[in-house]
Symmetry: C2
Subunit: 395 residues, 2 copies
């Protein structure tokens, strides 16, 4: 048996993630793997927690990268807080909300859902009603940037409400961390997790997470151990800090990648990075609308800059268009799924992928492929409108 040489094709990654990895991050992965109790490695671990706190905008001691991809971050967030018999309110306005509900059920919780259409935000009144109906609810789970819909969920009022009612708020920031404003401490978020392969532009492989004091207290009051051994924070925290007790071998090369990705965020500045995501998304939106396409999230203030959903025009074969973008232009964009399957495309402008030339490249390729399918969008209008936004103001 023989295996050919590894040779994946380079792509421009403008889908729902992963985003393109920064060259310096690739280089960091060549640093030598060393032992999990090597003093040099333990130092690197601690080193990495510092900028992680800065990016989450938190002082939480318990801020660390979980050794798996974003969905394991979700599992770590929910499994550590939720236990059998708890009532948990889960906000569902997209695919990842449903996933949170699934996980909470596997912890033995009674799940109460608060729902909104895919493409709309959850209203604070809905959460208020659910908390009133279930006064003992342990937590409210909510997605900050829904990768399946492109909605950026306002969190401040919901988090304030949860505090008042004594419920923890667990936030999915997989697609928003370092790509949209997120203030863990100022907004009073209790558990927030993310992933490395979105706006941080490292390869997938770790899930940054942070636990605030109320979440730590809830963990200390647990009646039974966490249902997952691998993400049980009562053990993990003894490795990431304190006695440095062995728990599992963390993925060193992924930690190196994350550390370098965080260095790049610090060098750029978190605020400037978030503004960059916003700027390039605005250019994309202007371009798509100038082509006559319709954005799925109508209220601009609810659009997540890292992930845009755009409606597939009547008569266009959406799968063929994605395939042609990939094969003829080397550009990946994502399909819709669930109720949005066949109805939208998902365009990511995250991290290293969020660059002016990528916005223009996508709009141009999209125009070419729409014409090939007989959809006669105005020639050059998308690129022109985007370029105008990019050239204006602080672009």
């Amino acid at each position: 048996m023989e295996l050919s040489e590894l040779n994946p094709p380079p792509r421009l990654l403008l889908g729902p993630g992963p985003s393109n990895v920064h060259p310096r991050v690739y280089r960091a992965m060549l640093a030598p793997v060393i032992g999990y109790l090597d003093p040099a490695f333990l130092q690197l671990l601690s080193d990495t927690q510092v900028p992680l706190r800065a990016v989450f905008r938190t002082g939480n001691e318990l801020t660390l990268p979980i050794s798996g991809t974003g969905s394991l971050g979700m599992e770590a967030a929910i499994y550590n807080v939720v236990e059998e018999g708890d009532t948990v309110i889960v906000c569902i306005n997209g695919f990842f909300g449903s996933r949170m509900a699934d996980m909470a059920r596997r912890c033995g919780a009674r799940v109460v859902t608060v729902e909104a259409d895919w493409g709309r935000a959850i209203e604070v009144e809905q959460v208020e009603a659910a908390l009133r109906q279930h006064p003992g609810a342990k937590a409210v789970c909510i997605v900050h940037a829904e990768t399946s819909t492109g909605v950026l969920q306002p969190l401040i009022d919901i988090a304030r409400l949860c505090r008042e009612r004594g419920a923890l708020v667990i936030v999915d920031a997989v697609t928003s961390l370092s790509g949209a404003p997120l203030e863990v401490d100022a907004w009073g978020l209790d558990v927030v997790y993310s992933a490395t392969q979105k706006c941080l532009s490292a390869p997938p492989g770790m899930a940054p997470i942070t636990f605030g004091p109320r979440a730590v207290e809830a963990m200390q009051r647990r009646r039974e151990p966490c249902r997952s051994w691998y993400v049980d924070l009562t053990m993990l925290r003894e490795y990431y800090g304190g006695p440095r007790r062995y728990h599992h071998t963390p993925p060193m090369s992924m930690l190196y990648a994350l550390r370098e990705a965080l260095r790049l965020v610090l060098e750029e500045g978190l605020e400037e990075r978030i503004a960059r995501h916003r700027r390039h998304a605005s250019a994309l939106w202007a371009g798509l609308e100038a082509m006559g396409l319709r954005l799925h999230v109508e209220d601009e203030s609810l659009r997540a800059p890292p992930l845009t959903t755009v409606r597939v025009p009547e008569g266009v074969d959406e799968a063929r268009l994605r395939q042609d973008l990939l094969e003829r232009h080397g550009i990946e964009i994502g399909a819709g799924f669930g109720p949005l399957a066949g109805k939208v495309w998902r365009v990511g402008l995250m991290g290293y992928s969020s660059q002016p030339q990528n916005v223009l490249a996508l709009l141009h390729a999209l125009e070419v492929e729409l014409w090939r399918q007989g959809c006669e969008v105005p020639r050059g209008a998308g690129v022109e409108a985007a370029a105008r936004v990019l050239a204006s103001g602080d672009a």
Copy 2:
């Protein structure tokens, strides 16, 4: 805030893992990250399953890498098979057996333990007695190469017994895969998991696992969903095969690393690779004994070639010696833990670390450091004895 440039010191990794990463594996990690539904990536996934089956010596369709490190492989093995109310027999003769018991309990199982001293194997009669006492036991969990003790557990008779009694056998092959004989199909093992950072010499980050037909049947008969969402095989198998339904984003760079590591195994030949581990371990054992040191596992046929435990001589400060090996020689070896804390060192010769020059380097450095602590081992005897073994026979 500024973060210094990443600069972990190069080490010779002769501890319990990770082992040194092969240069070609580092290079593979530079291949571009692409989308999780990109046809080229799906092809790479399938490509990687083929040599994985070859290394496990199995035809099991359900053979794939879990997206986390070895302990998540353990979680995937146990959580997919075990559910609330099951009786599970767990063999404990070291640290990782206890971990399996912990995980089975978190699944809601009633755990029956079968124990042996740390450094001895589990006897087939012990398992037989436990199965007789608990005739409805769902599974027997056992560690093939106990990284905490250096024992290589004979599995053939225990597996045959389990088949006769209708119990599944779940095997931890984290430290044995491609470093010691392991025959998933011929021995009738139902679930076997491993890790990338031991004898495969890739960085930690994925956990290869295989499920045989009896295990698949047991999963299909489950009364409740798997307690972990992230490693639920009923969903994972729809991404790794069949409909290619999105589950989570796998760590692409780690998959590339694993694929390259498997290519290296195929090029070397699995049998030759296992013989190499055996040869260099024999040289190490001869060297240590010629220095007057005592191997912790007395019965040579029960020693795991990838991981050797050697007793700390009277009067030697074991922690200082490890620290001096690391700081003065750049060599990592491991400490004992549990009942072996302070009593043994753990020396790994795994994958790319299993090389003749590394055996000699370690024996020499050990001699130097033992003398520095006033332990007058015979000068040059260790290196000489090892060199003789290396030069003899098929070395």
